[in-house]
């Protein structure tokens, strides 16, 4: 079974890789180098911070974009083009198919993150910045955030069409980042029902803000180990739960 899982992941990766989606990564990487060069001319004293800020931002933007747009079409494309029939008419359980597809796309995400991370860290180092554990953790958490978003969009694509699943996932992503700040505003604090609603949202839908460490890295703020560990566990378990739900629903789904 592991062999079939590997085959599906490998050929999913190959199919997406050949579609030249990683050209976006290359483009962002070149843009990163150009902006870093320009930044050295215009920033006083902190060009390495600009490089790191821009690099981590672009890394997050591109990996979330890949998750959102490729994730939304991952299953609908298979069903519309009937390629799913070609695969699951073989001795392949449905869970192996769906897990293989998600792993294949995740490999693309990892490569994107790896390339941009290396370029970001290289640019920052060349300008005198230091690579610390927090920077690496921010990159790892970004990977986790992208996978979580990928699973959200794949989950939604089981019920909604491509456009709707993309829009709803984007909405969940933005809310997932904004909810913490929103809860601290006086406007929400003064309205109990709104606060309860946001609390409920917080309990059910993913709190993406927990996986965003970029600001802590840029402004050199410290975070205690418990927060990092609990955030990592939150992202991991939420992802595993979504993966389990996707497999469960896909096993029951009529593929017509």
């Amino acid at each position: 079974m592991l062999n079939k899982l590997f085959l599906i992941s490998f050929y999913t990766f190959k199919e997406i890789f050949k579609s030249k989606v990683l050209l976006i990564t290359l483009f962002i990487g070149i843009a990163l180098m150009v902006i870093t060069y320009v930044a050295t001319e215009f920033t006083y004293g902190t060009p390495e911070k600009v490089a790191l800020d821009f690099g981590l931002g672009m890394l997050s933007f591109s990996s979330l974009g890949i998750s959102l747009f490729l994730g939304a079409t991952l299953l609908p494309n298979e069903i519309n083009s009937r390629t799913v029939y070609t695969v699951i008419s073989r001795p392949v359980p449905r869970w192996v198919f769906i897990l293989g597809k998600v792993l294949g796309l995740s490999a693309i995400l990892f490569i994107n993150v790896f390339i941009l991370s290396v370029m970001t860290l290289a640019c920052s180092s060349l300008l005198g910045g230091e690579i610390n554990a927090m920077t690496i953790l921010a990159i790892v958490f970004n990977c986790l955030e992208s996978i979580l978003l990928l699973l959200v969009v794949v989950f939604l694509s089981l019920f909604l069409n491509t456009t709707l699943s993309t829009v709803v996932s984007l909405f969940i992503l933005i809310l997932g980042h904004a909810i913490k700040e929103t809860q601290t505003t006086t406007f929400v604090k003064e309205r109990v029902y709104l606060n309860t609603l946001l609390e409920f949202y917080h309990m059910v839908l993913p709190g993406f803000y927990k996986l965003n460490l970029k600001d802590f890295v840029i402004y050199k703020q410290t975070l205690d180990g418990t927060y990092l560990l609990s955030s990592f566990a939150y992202g991991t378990f939420y992802s595993l739960f979504l993966l389990f739900m996707i497999i469960f629903i896909f096993n029951k789904k009529n593929l017509d």
């Binding site: 079939k4 085959l7 083009s81 009937r82 070609t86």
Partner: protein
């Protein structure tokens, strides 16, 4: 799940089960697949009335047979095939595969070759990569895939394009590589959904030849089509669906015989001969040939008369309807 040595599968609907049992037809043939009283309804949206795609449809596919699955567009052919392949679940009814295929889903599907209707496949993979992928999923070793590819690719005339991405393939080439992938693992039971639609006449002929070759090698072939002449040409059995209901399940020849007319076409050289028989009609006068239509019972009497009058008989032919004519006759009734 495995129950008493038989593979039983219960899907979203508890009434549907796929099981393996030792089945025999009355004429002592093993049954490859038994499709029993399957009903399937679809609902386009919550407010719409449910549409019955299949209504208590039952049929059997004998082992080693070549069965044509006939019906107009929307008759329920693809829905039936999707239920057989476990892509969708029936509302009620059950299915049984031959124990020859195996006792678990994995064993059964390892011995089935399936080609979907109008396949597109992965556009960025090359033909070779695509075949390695599907061959691997069918648990073939690399050497076996290579060996079967070498055997079949020239037959399908795609050997020259195996290193090209599938997005550069024509529709006919995609159909051919799809067919190759279907038989790559040498399946016992081949299920084809509209395999020759969209092909040019030469492509159709070539593909039909391969289907016949596979059947002669002892494989069971079940293929759906709305092209009646193709089914008449190569199938020994036919299952005919109309509006989700089974209209006919039996031999092609038996169906043709049951609709055979009792008339003969008689061709006589010249225009002077007029038969004395009561039930005849003049069909046409073409060139120097007179053609009559005569009832079977009066054939001997007519032949006697021709001999007596020394008329020049150049043709005597029993009128047999084609499967296509029967198909349209059944549809119009």
């Amino acid at each position: 799940m495995k129950v008493d040595g038989t593979y039983k599968k219960k899907g979203g609907n508890e009434n549907q089960e796929i099981s393996v049992a030792k089945l025999r037809l009355n004429h002592n043939d093993f049954i490859m697949l038994k499709f029993k009283e399957i009903t399937k309804t679809f609902k386009t949206d919550l407010t719409a009335q449910a549409f019955k795609a299949l209504d208590q449809v039952s049929f059997e596919i004998p082992e080693g047979s070549m069965v044509g699955f006939l019906g107009a567009n929307g008759a329920g052919k693809t829905t039936s095939i999707k239920i057989i392949m476990d892509f969708i679940r029936a509302d009620s009814g059950s299915m049984e595969f031959s124990p020859k295929l195996g006792s678990t889903r994995s064993e059964i599907f390892k011995k089935i070759g399936f080609l979907p209707e109008r396949p597109y496949f992965y556009p960025n993979l090359t033909g070779r990569e695509f075949l390695y992928f599907l061959g691997g999923l069918s648990e073939l070793r690399k050497s076996e895939i290579e060996q079967n590819m070498t055997k079949w690719a020239p037959r399908f005339k795609i050997d020259h394009a195996l290193n090209r991405p599938l997005k550069t393939y024509s529709k006919g080439m995609l159909q051919r590589i799809g067919f190759l992938s279907t038989i790559l693992h040498d399946p016992e039971f081949v299920i084809l959904d509209e395999p020759i639609s969209g092909l040019d006449p030469i492509g159709r002929k070539e593909l039909k030849d391969v289907i016949v070759e596979i059947h002669r090698a002892g494989k069971t072939v079940f293929f759906s089509s709305h092209i009646v002449s193709d089914i008449e040409e190569i199938c020994d059995r036919v299952i005919f669906l109309q509006n989700g209901k089974l209209v006919y399940d039996g031999g092609v020849q038996a169906l043709l015989d049951s609709h055979e007319k009792k008339d003969y076409l008689v061709k006589i050289m010249g225009h002077d001969f007029t038969p004395a028989t009561k039930h005849h009609s003049l069909v046409k006068l073409a060139g120097n040939i007179t053609t009559f239509l005569i009832h079977r019972n009066e054939k001997d009497e007519l032949l006697k008369e021709i001999l007596e009058k020394k008329a020049d008989l150049i043709g005597l032919e029993l009128i047999k309807p084609t499967l296509e004519e029967i198909f349209y006759h059944i549809r119009s009734n």
